[in-house]
């Protein structure tokens, strides 16, 4: 291209946050993903936050139909998708209206002004056109005729106008790529792979992408490019990974590391369904995925598969987990190993199904009839899901008991760079089954399914094994023989044993880390998906000289042994949670510590600023 491009500056910045938003038909998720991959390939640390409407396709142009994707990328380690946005792309008025509040003052605002017609403005609730009424003066507004420019760019390819308009997201990408000095190559490769079979579509997207890029080069109004250097990350090969994918892969890895078939019994539910989708693609790893008729069949088939000797997993979200409560009691009393995944979403009831929340902790801890303790672990971010899955299986198979694994919508759909491990480096998960015996042998001994090893685990005798025939069930069992028992002392004993099995895990997990000093004025205690914002906020506070430390829990039941001492080392304890204080109540009960809560249920993760503000208020 040889248009005489005006000279432009490049400004080096440490980090930046970009958000694409538009109608859900506008391809914003794709734009976001491409920008993420490109930034990751450029060596930045990245964190993302996709946000889409509950409806499949809300009416075009409405606020309810707005879809967004935010990318935070940096030359340093980062832990969150960013609180405020440096550059916002808004494809229509509704997107502008619902997103502009997050753009920082003086931030870059790129809008498709072709969409700001009467109808569009009305649907967004604007009385006057914000592009013209001065209300956006505090931003660097670039109002671009994207629709027109794209139509021009693809002219001659024989596309209908509707098809042409579908390329607009590539124009927007191109422009943002230019703005942040990014290479087009990954996206060109992507277009090639994805649309190779429809050359006219591939060409159109390519043209739109480049048109956007050249628009940036050319137009004088935009005179600065920004550059974010590669981050210094631990050496290795990286990829970008979403939480649900990492979780599914972690399960695949755990199955292979324990030499087990993997059985997933699941019923679709947002935001857990992708675990089912992902695993169903990998059957050649000896994976069986069973889409059950409901969540009860999902969990009970999982119990059946566990009895059969498989690595058995069930995955759902809040309402589905509620339905599994009764059956989890059976899993607990039969002492069979299995993983129960809850990708939490906004409740109660159907609640806010596409939004994130951490409000199912109580349900995991207490939501079954009788004394029915379960081990609970949680993942702290997308990539961590890979390891959390393996840890869940290690514990479950070692102690012969079901284990809850909690993630949430934010983790599940968010993505971050993941240093790809080698399978050979991952610790094996050793599982043994009692051996067959010959009942005609004079040493034959009736098999007792409730004898116990040092971990109080009972033997995992698998149907099909000669001489180990036995019956399990939901009535109280006599320890040892496993026969039905109404004996009062035995019931007390078995109740105690089931609790002790969970408690024993505390001796078998890594020492609880504290980020910062072991004593101080304030401990921020967190779990699950709030890891990133808490980490960042605490680092800021530490940088400001405050005696604040951070302790992030992977293990919630049992708690790490060190936790009590850690809590006692601080004058105050703050527990930020995306619920109304669920971990807090458990901590208060267990340790009689007057922990304070920072709580919010608004379908959104914490911003760093929210946590920082609370820290500043407290110390």
């Amino acid at each position: 291209m040889s248009t005489a491009a005006p000279e432009k500056q490049i400004s080096n910045v440490e980090e930046a946050t970009v958000r694409f938003c538009g109608d859900s038909g506008d391809g914003m998720q794709l734009a976001g993903t491409q920008f993420t991959t490109t930034s990751a390939l450029a060596g930045n640390d990245v964190a993302t936050f996709p946000d889409f409407p509950a409806e499949i396709r809300a009416p075009r142009g409405t606020k309810a139909g707005v879809s967004g994707f935010q990318i935070h990328f940096s030359s340093n380690e980062i832990y969150t998708p960013g609180d405020t946005v440096d550059a916002l792309v808004a494809m229509n008025p509704a997107a502008l209206a619902t997103n502009v509040a997050d753009l920082r003052d003086n931030g870059i605002l790129l809008v498709n002004n072709d969409a700001f017609d009467k109808k569009g403005l009305e649907q967004a609730g604007y009385d006057t056109n914000p592009l013209e009424d001065g209300s956006l003066d505090k931003y660097k507004l670039h109002s671009v005729e994207m629709t027109k420019l794209v139509r021009l760019a693809v002219e001659g390819l024989g596309l209908s106008q509707k098809e042409a308009d579908r390329c607009r997201n590539f124009f927007a990408m191109g422009l943002v790529f230019w703005l942040y000095d990014r290479s087009l190559d990954p996206t060109l490769r992507f277009i090639e792979n994805k649309f190779g079979k429809k050359p006219e579509v591939a060409q159109a997207n390519t043209k739109a992408l480049k048109a956007g890029f050249h628009y940036g080069e050319t137009v004088e109004a935009i005179n600065t490019q920004y550059h974010v250097d590669p981050a210094e990350l631990p050496a290795g090969t990286y990829r970008n990974i979403m939480g649900n994918t990492a979780l599914a892969w972690g399960l695949l890895a755990a199955a292979q590391l324990s030499e087990k078939r993997l059985f997933l019994g699941a019923y679709p539910i947002t935001p857990a369904s992708d675990i089912l989708h992902e695993l169903s693609k990998h059957k050649h790893y000896d994976v069986l995925t069973f889409q059950a008729e409901d969540e009860i069949a999902a969990v009970t088939s999982t119990i059946g598969a566990a009895f059969a000797g498989a690595m058995a997993v069930t995955a759902s979200s809040g309402p589905g987990i509620a339905l599994k409560g009764e059956a989890l009691g059976l899993a607990v009393i039969t002492e069979l190993p299995m993983i129960v995944i809850n990708v939490q979403r906004g409740g109660p009831s159907t609640g806010l199904p596409t939004k994130t929340e951490q409000s199912d902790l109580w349900q995991a801890m207490y939501g079954r009839n009788g004394e029915c303790p379960m081990c609970i672990i949680s993942a702290s971010g997308p990539a961590d899901c890979f390891y959390a899955a393996q840890e869940a299986w290690r514990i479950s198979s070692k102690y012969m008991m079901p284990v809850f694994l909690l993630t949430d919508g934010y983790i599940a759909n968010g993505s971050e760079p993941w240093r790809i491990p080698k399978m050979s480096e991952l610790p094996k998960i050793k599982i043994s089954h009692p051996e067959a015996q010959d009942d005609s042998d004079e040493n034959f001994k009736q098999f007792d399914p409730y004898t116990r090893d040092d971990n109080l685990a009972r033997p995992w005798a698998v149907p099909g094994t000669p001489g180990l025939e036995h019956r399990l069930g939901g009535l109280e069992k006599a320890d040892g023989t496993g026969n039905v028992s109404y004996d009062p002392e035995n019931h007390q004993h078995m109740t105690d044993v089931r609790q002790r099995k969970v408690d024993l895990v505390a001796d078998d997990i890594p020492e609880q880390e504290v980020n910062g000093e072991k004593t101080g004025d304030l401990l921020v205690l967190s779990w699950g998906g709030t890891y990133g914002s808490c980490t960042t906020a605490v680092r800021k506070a530490q940088a400001a000289g405050k005696k604040v430390s951070h302790c992030h829990l992977r293990y919630i039941n049992p708690f790490p042994k060190e936790l009590e001492a850690i809590l006692n080392g601080f004058k105050q304890v703050l527990i930020p949670e995306l619920n109304m204080g669920q971990l807090r109540s458990i901590i208060r009960d267990r340790f009689l510590v007057d922990a304070q809560g920072l709580n919010k249920v608004q379908g959104k993760p914490f911003s760093v600023a929210e946590i920082s503000a609370k820290i500043d208020e407290m110390v």
Binding site: Q256, G304, R419, L468, G473
Partner: protein
């Protein structure tokens, strides 16, 4: 230690566990248990290959009394537990024992889905038309007007007919037998065991404590030959003490006719358990004593169709043909990656 198991010669007693049987004296469940213990040794399977899964109810205590693998699970869920088990271990023979409440009330949906998937399970539904274990409430098979603890003025729910439901879900094997007809019962158990895919067997079972005589008409020596009709593949539908009555089709409606008097065997409806269309089986399942019909016992339908348990494993094999056993390192490294040094 892996033990070679030459096909053992087993006796019924080998299938008895060491647990005391705790049904009420006189309960029809005893008979079904006894026949099961007789049939299993004839199947040529070692004990360890057999698993009994049940829900909750008197009938669902069954697994405790069998010296095989087993699970007394939770109310209504046995078919789902069995689905996970059988999918993972298709080499096992899996029996599901359930009651009319367990299988048709709380567990109706699992039963239906299990049947439509044609999971290779043998499902035995002990139909005593009552909730036994919870001491006598009406069940989905209790007749209209039935007075029970929970229906002192009589039940107002039209009963479900287990076989009609199963055929509605296009079951590949559907049969019926009676607790006291032990020869027939053991034959049906054997047929169920031999069927590949879901075998659904309803057994009329007497609960002598809470619903004594519910099947009196079908078990009473005096009446049973008039009130029941033994189905035989390829044979006309004949019944009666003197085998002088039969079932003839009038359009799509069955009717009872007397043989002789101008009506020959050839005029009767002939049973075809292998008919690809389940309509005949459905029609037979609608023949009810209260409507003046003899109730068919025997195999209503027995056809071959693909099984879920086989197919789920076939997909693993197929995927392996396409992709090999797979290498997770490759999976993790596929797509866009970058190196940090």
């Amino acid at each position: 230690m892996s033990i070679e198991t030459p096909l053992p010669v087993l006796k019924p007693a080998d299938f008895a566990s060491d647990q005391d049987v705790r049904w009420c004296p006189g309960c029809g469940d005893y008979s079904i248990l006894a026949q099961m213990k007789k049939v299993l040794p004839t199947l040529g399977l070692p004990r360890e290959k057999i698993v009994f899964i049940s829900g909750i109810g008197c009938s669902s205590r069954f697994p405790y009394y069998m010296n095989t693998y087993g699970m007394h699970s939770i109310h209504g869920r046995a078919p789902a537990v069995a689905t996970g088990l059988k999918s993972t271990r298709p080499d096992l023979q899996v029996w599901v024992v359930t009651g009319d409440g367990d299988g048709l009330s709380i567990g109706g949906n699992h039963l239906m889905h299990c049947i439509r998937r044609n999971m290779d399970l043998n499902i035995i539904l002990f139909n005593n038309r009552i909730y036994g274990l919870t001491k006598g409430q009406y069940s989905p098979t209790s007749p209209l007007g039935k007075k029970t603890k929970s229906t002192p003025m009589g039940a107002i729910d039209n009963p479900l007919h287990p076989l009609s439901i199963a055929i509605g879900a296009e079951a590949t094997f559907v049969a019926r037998s009676i607790d006291t007809n032990i020869k027939h019962l053991s034959e049906m158990l054997k047929r169920a065991a031999e069927h590949r895919g879901t075998a659904f067997l309803e057994v009329y079972q007497n609960c002598n404590v809470f619903n004594d005589g519910a099947w009196e008409y079908a078990t009473n020596r005096q009446t049973k030959l008039e009130t029941t009709l033994e189905l035989q593949h390829g044979k006309p539908l004949i019944f009666g003490k003197d085998r002088d009555k039969g079932i003839r089709l009038n359009g799509l409606d069955p009717e009872v006719v007397e043989l002789g008097k101008g009506i020959k065997e050839d005029d009767l409806l002939f049973h075809d358990e292998k008919s690809p269309e389940p309509s005949l089986a459905y029609l037979l399942s609608r023949m009810r004593y209260e409507d003046g019909f003899p109730e068919p016992i025997g195999v209503f339908r027995s056809v071959k169709a693909p099984q879920y348990d086989e197919m789920i494993n076939a997909q693993v094999e197929e995927a392996r043909k396409q992709h090999g056993k797979g290498n997770l390192d490759d999976l993790f490294n596929a797509g866009e990656t970058w190196d940090v040094k």
